[in-house]
């Protein structure tokens, strides 16, 4: 940080500034109590307050994540329904082929491919960065969101398809058909409602996978989010930021899991808090 020519004196001053001369357990306590108040200290390289830095970046990442989830659901849900309803027939095999191929596509490569076609050749979207104003923002987030969407879709597809197959062959669906309810009603009212729980589970369980993809994709498209911050801080050895970010990610995962559990209680009458 100080460069390789630092004198012993300046090192000592910096140490006391950073609190590194306090005993280890004291440093730990300080850190946790500060973190609880959302004070992470100052970034070593950027010289800005880490807390506000993370907050600003988190907003961008959150937007990207929501957009990505929507895209991946738009891809995965209809295909899963198609595959489950036409099980073991050609349509199902095609969907599974699609799943296999998209699973093997590196997220960063998918991003580059999309940029090549839709930004460079066709010019519909910007190649990188975040746009100003709602329309530009949406446009600049579209290719990244589609990239992450294709990255997450095969994982969602696999789970959704098998859960739908299970529901479709379950007895109450058979009983509903035997009561003379139309196939459409059976599908919409009975099957989907039950599978809603499965969908939320699948998303919740794979939130780590989703975030991992977002981290890489943010770097591909130079989106100023938590992911790109993580990478730049590792390259520049900005340890306070690295530690703070890891903590933030952990908290996000915990919160998401809590929300998923809560939604069970809402959706499944068999489970009451």
């Amino acid at each position: 940080m100080l460069g390789t020519r630092a004198t012993d004196e300046s090192i000592a001053i910096l140490r006391s500034q950073l609190g590194l001369d306090k005993p280890l357990h004291q440093q730990y306590i300080d850190f946790v109590s500060d973190a609880a108040r959302l004070e992470f200290g100052t970034s070593l390289t950027l010289r800005t307050d880490i807390g506000s830095l993370i907050a600003a970046r988190a907003k961008n990442s959150a937007r990207l994540l929501v957009y990505s989830i929507i895209v991946s659901l738009l891809i995965a849900v209809p295909l899963a329904i198609l595959a489950a309803v036409r099980r073991n027939r050609p349509a199902d095999h095609l969907v599974r082929l699609f799943t296999t191929i998209t699973f093997a596509m590196p997220a960063f490569w998918t991003g580059l491919l999309l940029v090549l076609i839709f930004s460079i050749r066709l010019g519909f979207f910007p190649t990188s960065g975040l746009g100003e104003g709602w329309i530009n923002l949406a446009l600049s987030l579209t290719l990244p969101a589609v990239t992450i969407g294709f990255y997450l879709a095969p994982v969602l597809l696999r789970s959704l398809r098998s859960s739908l197959i299970e529901t479709l062959s379950s007895e109450f669906v058979e009983a509903a058909r035997a009561r003379g309810l139309s196939e459409r009603r059976v599908l919409l009212k009975h099957v989907l409602r039950n599978s809603l729980i499965a969908m939320i589970t699948v998303l919740g369980v794979n939130i780590g996978f989703l975030i991992s993809g977002a981290v890489v994709v943010e770097n591909v498209f130079s989106i100023p989010g938590l992911g790109s911050l993580m990478v730049t801080s590792i390259i520049s050895r900005d340890y306070p930021v690295i530690v703070a970010l890891t903590l933030v990610f952990a908290v996000i995962v915990i919160i998401v899991n809590l929300l998923v559990d809560l939604s069970y209680a809402l959706l499944d009458p068999r489970i009451r808090l």
Partner: protein, 329 residues
């Protein structure tokens, strides 16, 4: 085989029905040349071990044979109409209205995320074209009819909040709501305690008397079939082995398999004495790998060489009490 019943046309006629299943493991016939006739106000008991094809045959009446199975031969005639000629929506109209079905496990047959009221009302609104208010009233009447106390409150409960017996009554309520002419009951009491079994069977008997509806009762329990059927058909490996009135089949069985089934029942005559349990020797049949001719050959005590090449059909010479075995009387 036709049972004369005042010379009326049979309500349901199944002719040479054959159902095949094909998947990566091979092909098998879940039902082979099934012939049955059922008249108004009659109860047919379909008796057989698990996997003998009775459930699949029932589902084929409603056109609900699950993939990868399909009907590959024969026909089902409902009030003279060949059901395979009906369009999908016409078939849907019959289901739940003229022909209803109740299932073995009431827990998994009701959708767990909707109240039972919701599910009963849904069926009534669609099948009988009632509005919400009428449907709700009728739902209460139905629940009361099947013996569920405080029906108004129960409407708002979820399936998991009721006992097994109650759930089965709800299923029956939904099934008879539209006053069907035929009720298909697939092992309705198998998943219930013995005392509850009795109650449910009595309920079904009462409903039959009231409405005159025909019933096909499927079970592997000889006692249940014997006590609740007018006609009995015995199924083995997808084929009907014997068919006749309940008293004829139960008291003087003609087919070796039926005889084996009935002798295997422990009786009270020698209670207290040590008697060995007789059972039918051999293993249940593997439908994918049947020997030619009669499928019961490997386990039959009367087997002879000709059994390997006979077609297994009920003999038409004795329509009142027919057996598929031409050698044993």
């Amino acid at each position: 085989m036709a049972l004369n019943s005042n010379g009326n046309q049979p309500l349901l006629e199944i002719n040479d029905l054959t159902i095949g299943f094909a998947d990566a493991r091979g092909i098998l016939l879940a039902a082979d040349r099934i012939n049955l006739r059922l008249f108004r106000n009659q109860t047919l008991g379909l008796l057989g071990e698990s996997g003998c094809g009775k459930s699949v045959s029932m589902r084929s009446i409603l056109g609900l044979v699950p993939y990868p199975g399909e009907v590959i031969g024969g026909s089902v005639l409902w009030e003279g109409q060949d059901l395979s000629e009906l369009s999908r929506s016409e078939m849907q109209k019959i289901r739940g209205k003229e022909i209803s079905m109740i299932f073995q496990d009431p827990t998994s047959c009701l959708n767990p995320v909707y109240t039972i009221g919701n599910q009963i009302v849904e069926t009534l609104k669609i099948k009988l074209k009632m509005n919400s208010h009428e449907a709700r009233q009728r739902a209460v009447e139905l629940l009361d009819h099947v013996g569920i106390p405080s029906p108004e409150q129960r409407l708002n409960l979820y399936p998991h909040q009721l006992s097994g017996g109650m759930r089965q009554r709800v299923m029956i309520a939904i099934a008879i709501g539209s006053k069907p002419k035929l009720l298909l009951a697939d092992e309705p009491t198998t998943a219930l305690d013995v005392t509850i079994q009795d109650q449910i069977l009595n309920l079904l008997a009462d409903l039959r008397e009231e409405t005159g509806m025909a019933v096909i009762l499927v079970s592997h329990d000889v006692g249940v079939i014997a006590q609740n059927s007018d006609i009995v058909a015995i199924m083995y490996a997808g084929r009907i082995m014997e068919c006749g009135s309940a008293s004829d089949v139960m008291l003087s069985p003609r087919h070796p398999y039926t005889r084996g089934l009935l002798t295997a029942l422990p009786t009270f005559e020698h209670a207290g004495e040590r008697q060995p349990l007789t059972s039918i020797p051999g293993q249940p049949p593997n439908l994918a790998d049947l020997p030619g001719g009669c499928p019961f050959r490997p386990r039959c005590q009367y087997v002879r060489d000709e059994c390997a090449s006979i077609p297994v059909v009920l003999d038409r010479d004795f329509p009142e009490h027919a057996s598929a075995c031409p050698f044993v009387d």
